[in-house]
Amino acid sequence: MRILSDIAAIMTGMWITWKHMFRRPVTVQYPEEKRQPYPRYRARIVLTRDPDGGERCVACQLCSAACPVDCITMQSAEGDNGRRFAEWFRINFSRCIFCGLCAEACPTLAIQMTPDFEICKRDVMDLIYEKEELLIDGCGKSPDYNFYRHAGIGVTQPRGTGVEEMPPVDVRGLMP
């Protein structure tokens, strides 16, 4: 009979919740108790440096294009020896959803996610991080990549001496 099975169903439910009342809670008592997030946890974003200490970010705007909530803005500029870098670079953490798409899009491995999730501020404007606050002194998770050693435009080494480059051709040479 349906009514009996209905009552049985209700009773089963009540029994399950009854049992759960005596389970150990899974709650962690933050902030006294803290969980150590995994290294690939996606929280506060940083801009890293290449192994030679230069800023990795070339302000290519791929991260800002990838960002689904449009919280990254920047202005690129040309530095000495033609290095492209971010004149200013800001991430609005009050909008960021920590999806990690920016880090995935970054061709220079500059923008990386860190496990530091504790970024509360009293004033929402303080959640707009500028480049000074984002840039760290280190390579982050990829210790040995330097984009400019592979890009063909010189900057960190004379043209034609990069990792995958032949010396510049002599246009006026007559050799075949």
Partner: protein
């Protein structure tokens, strides 16, 4: 009638006591509800304010009192202000007729542990519980908000669906006790609780009071998943607090009534009567919380269907059966 000053003092003391106990109980029921729900969900629940979070109700009170008292544009000012009181006051008034312990003898006076031993106590309860729904209806109407209005419409529709079966489920109780007076009903159960004679009426009454307190699975007027917060969507601060606390007073009061009608009121072996009564009330409160942690919300039409097509006929049949049985027994 001329009253003895000691009588008057006793009555006032009883009123003050009832107020204090009921309000504290309601506040701690909120806390208990949060705790029990947390346990059910493998959480810890409030545990920050005071030892084990015991001062949480106080913190909540302070928070509610200091919150902005907000009134939506276009709301009907006076009705909007009145509605929360309309919801809370009738609930607490019902307690006036509930006997919560065996009569005491103090200063040569026999003190009924009951604020007022009215001879139509049961009818008073029916009347006041119907008035309480005005709080819901007017609050939703006066808010000038779609969600609130929908919530209050549901509240009214729900009322007419369960009030009838609730009333009918009490008729056999009256038939058995041969009185509308609650103390008589309790006395009639000194031997055997009515739940033994009337399990069906008890179930119908239980379901009906769950609907009366707007508890899951019958919390359609609030239905936060669908209507934000139903009839009290637009309320804030202590006005919201009144609605909220009214609901828990309702639980206490209706728990007390269920105990009175079916579980022998304050009767029980070994322990003092007041403790028996309190234990029964708390058991009902726990049952409600447990239900909330387990059951999903019914649909609007399901509740009406259930009230009209199942509970009401069942209650009527039950009355017939009781009458037949009484006649047979003589």
């Amino acid at each position: 009638m001329i009253y003895d000053p000691i009588d008057i003092a006793l009555i006032l003391t009883k009123i003050a006591l009832v107020f204090f106990v009921i309000l504290t109980l309601a506040a701690y029921l909120v806390f208990a509800e949060r705790k029990v729900l947390a346990w059910i969900q493998d959480r810890k629940g409030p545990n920050r304010v005071g030892p084990f979070g015991l001062l949480q109700p106080l913190a909540d009170l302070i928070k509610l009192l200091t919150k902005e008292d907000f009134r939506p544009i276009g709301a009907d000012k006076w009705l909007f202000y009145l509605a929360p009181a309309m919801a809370a006051v009738p609930a607490i008034m019902i307690f006036a007729v509930i006997p919560f312990g065996a009569p005491l003898v103090l200063f040569g006076h026999t003190v009924q542990l009951q604020v007022s031993d009215l001879n139509v106590g049961l009818l008073l309860f029916m009347a006041l519980s119907s008035i309480a729904v005005y709080g819901v209806a007017l609050g939703g109407w006066a808010s000038n908000s779609k969600y609130a209005l929908l919530g209050s419409i549901r509240g009214l529709a729900q009322l007419i669906s369960y009030e009838l079966s609730m009333g009918l489920s009490l008729v056999p109780v009256v038939m058995l006790a041969r009185s509308f007076r609650l103390s008589d009903i309790v006395d009639a159960q000194s031997g055997c609780w009515f739940i033994v004679y009337q399990p069906l009426a008890f179930m119908i009454f239980l379901i009906s009071i769950a609907a009366e307190c707007k508890r899951i699975p019958f919390d359609l007027p609030e239905a936060e998943g669908e209507l934000v917060a139903g009839f009290h969507t637009e309320y804030s601060g202590m006005r919201f607090g009144l609605f909220f606390v009214g609901e828990y007073i309702n639980i206490v009061v209706l728990g007390g009534l269920a105990a009175t009608f079916f579980l022998g009121g304050w009767h029980g072996p070994f322990l003092p009567p007041v403790v028996w009564f309190a234990g029964k009330v708390l058991a009902f409160a726990f049952l409600f919380i447990w239900m909330r942690g387990t059951l999903p919300r019914l649909r609007y039409d399901q509740l009406m269907h259930f009230g009209w097509k199942i509970l009401t006929p069942l209650a009527l049949l039950n009355i017939l059966a009781t009458g037949w049985w009484l006649v047979l027994r003589g």
